[in-house]
Symmetry: C2
Subunit: 420 residues, 2 copies
């Protein structure tokens, strides 16, 4: 078994944390922003230093490849992203890129023999924080392999026209042209040229920490649905309209939300998560009773039958009045559980065992570029313990030791895969 | 008893409804906008036609005065506003101005003798829809008479600097200079020159309609408090964080809102109204558990002891955790019940009785310029039935018959006051 370098990993964490440093412990590093370009240049500098060949494709994904001993063998890629959400942390995405670099640096410094070319890769615009949607460039590249209803959200021309959320004017296509990283379409990751994909990522949840595991052997990305629950009441004046005649959409939504928690929790399903994170209130004025209130509901679980039961409860909200308000339940989207390649999951587990790294099987509740890639190539993921389960925020943290262990597990799994 | 003209009132309703017509039954007529200036010019045209003298003061309030027989007598003023909320209706505010015009037109056409000068007046910027706050110019003019905590919100210089909500740049002061209606400070309504103020307004609630009354004899503006109820949780990822460890601020707020309804309704207080109309949710993203949720609570009742009891319930929200979230209750403002001048209320009631107009005593739940004027002058209000209790919206409606009855009641009350 090979182990990666804790010192090199610490140096990478320190260096990459400066690109987009927001000054209070975290970063804002939108895709293709000056901060993201600093991170890309640092990636290229480090990869050139170990003799990797650099390529970019037509959506600025970057590939750094160490040749293998067999000129006919396909590449094995380790990939993640360098972009972040607004006021995000120093680990989401970038850890996967740092781990890929670390794996290649270990291969180079220890002159580890390998048959396949090994590639470290940066996916462009995973977060979609400046130019929506999230997972944009894996969506574009994997377009032909994705289920129709997912693919249609990632049409190349539509993506180029995606507007900045900051000015609602400048486009992803313009940022791509200006970045200096736009390459050739023929360089895109594809099943013809690539054999397997691995992605290391922070867990973004507290399960590994709670169970004392350093690393997670990820087996799937959970299936989910996303719906909107809407309430229609009547706007009247706060001072003049008797309580008994009111139809208050915010009160209706609050009643329904409490009821949903009761009903869904009554199912008693372990590992189910559901979230009502986004709200719209109209007119949202302190002197008016709201005539419209809308909340999102996002539910995730491995078993589609569980999601069906939860969805039936959510839909039944529309069968009754809430505080005199009509309720409507509208689908935004859903997706099925995506299982990682069983053989690769086995390689990850064996690597963790071989290294003596504490680990467990775990599902991914979040979406990742690996999820789209898995429609195209055998793919899997490795999770690294997240302190407190926090992510997409500045306190996001994983210890350098755990980060290095994650990279070592990925390296050894890749080296096992190299024997196929 | 004198009666106003239904035909003239219909003509005014029709004409004024064109100024700022939004094309689907209502108007948007921000203060000092081109639409408001059309309304002001029409007011001046009609008032000049009956021989009234026109004056404006330094905040563009307009005064149209018919002289009385006693040169030493103070003026009696009938006032309201011509500005509206966004997508408002054809009655809120403008009905009081049309009623004042109608009263003077009746005095002029029927050559009704009167000792006091009689004034129809337009208050500038009652709604504060473009340049906050509401009741801006009555706040400025009545500044020296208002309770200290209210007055400090209406400092003249601050008001001139109030920025447009549309561009967050252009100011009320600039609009005032550009309007052509800025006059002299000495023309401001004051206790030295004015004896009484009357304001006719739509009810904005359903009580008169429900009880079959055409007109309301208003006795007070309800006391109120406005607080914010805030919940502090933790943002975590929708897909990765187990339900049991979550601290969801939106769920916390929903539980607290349902509890507040139960507890406050348990008091069983008739005529109490409370409203939770404005919400803030952070980060308000469908894939994140909200870490912050905040709602306004506005409660109104005549009796301060009732408001105290309600406030104690609201404040007690902060004594416990809601869905694992800390709760904080913060005061925005409050005001005491303002009673109208008892003598003038009696004149209004006598006028309604004398005219045989169906009526009842009623409180005003909404704020009006009359409320600030009452700190300076004996003041009262007349309400006109609102269809369905709707206001601040396009379906806002009062029949021309009810509008004319309201004007007749005001005219006869003014003529009785003229004998003082």
């Amino acid at each position: 078994m090979y182990t990666c370098s804790l010192e090199r990993m610490k140096d990478k964490i320190k260096t990459f944390s400066t690109f987009g440093d927001a000054g209070h412990g975290g970063i804002t590093r939108y895709s293709l922003s000056p901060a993201a370009i600093q991170a890309r240049n640092e990636f290229i500098r480090r990869m050139k230093a170990i003799g990797a060949e650099i390529e970019t494709d037509d959506v600025a994904n970057i590939y750094a490849t160490l040749p293998g001993s067999d000129p006919a063998a396909k590449r094995i890629v380790m990939a993640s992203h360098v972009d972040s959400v607004k006021n995000g942390g120093n680990y989401d995405g970038i850890l996967g890129v740092m781990s890929a670099m670390e794996a290649l640096e270990t291969v180079a410094s220890e002159k580890i023999p390998h048959r396949h070319p090994l590639t470290a890769m940066i996916w462009t615009n995973e977060e979609g924080s400046l130019y929506p949607p999230a997972m944009m460039c894996s969506g574009i590249v994997c377009y032909d392999y994705l289920p129709e209803d997912i693919a249609q959200k990632f049409k190349y021309e539509d993506m180029l026209n995606s507007k900045s959320i900051l000015d609602n004017k400048s486009t992803f296509g313009e940022a791509l042209e200006a970045s200096g990283f736009k390459g050739e379409r023929k360089n895109r990751i594809s099943p013809e040229k690539y054999q397997y994909m691995f992605e290391t990522h922070i867990e973004q949840g507290p399960i590994l920490e709670d169970e004392g595991c350093d690393v997670g052997v990820v087996d799937c990305v959970l299936g989910m649905f996303n719906y909107r629950v809407r309430f229609y009441g009547q706007t009247v004046h706060a001072g003049t309209f008797p309580m008994k005649k009111r139809r208050d959409a915010f009160y209706a939504a609050s009643q329904a939300l409490c009821w949903l928690h009761e009903e869904i929790d009554r199912l008693g399903v372990p590992e189910l998560v559901y979230t009502t994170g986004e709200v719209v209130c109209h007119p949202c004025v302190h002197t008016c009773v709201p005539d419209y209130f809308d909340f999102s509901i996002d539910a995730r679980h491995e078993d589609p039958k569980v999601l069906e039961k939860v969805l039936a409860i959510v839909k039944s909200c529309a069968d009754r009045e809430w505080a005199g308000c009509r309720c409507e339940v509208v689908k935004a989207w859903n997706r099925d559980t995506v299982y990682w390649d069983k053989k690769l999951v086995g390689y990850v587990k064996s690597a963790a065992e071989g290294l003596g790294v504490s680990h467990r099987y775990i599902h991914s509740g979040a979406g990742h570029d690996a999820q789209f890639a898995s429609y195209m190539l055998p793919t899997t993921m490795i999770f690294v313990q997240s302190k407190g389960g926090l992510s997409h925020c500045e306190p996001e943290y994983s210890t350098p030791e755990h980060c290095t262990e994650g990279a070592s597990v990925m390296l050894n799994a890749v080296l096992r895969a190299d024997q196929d």
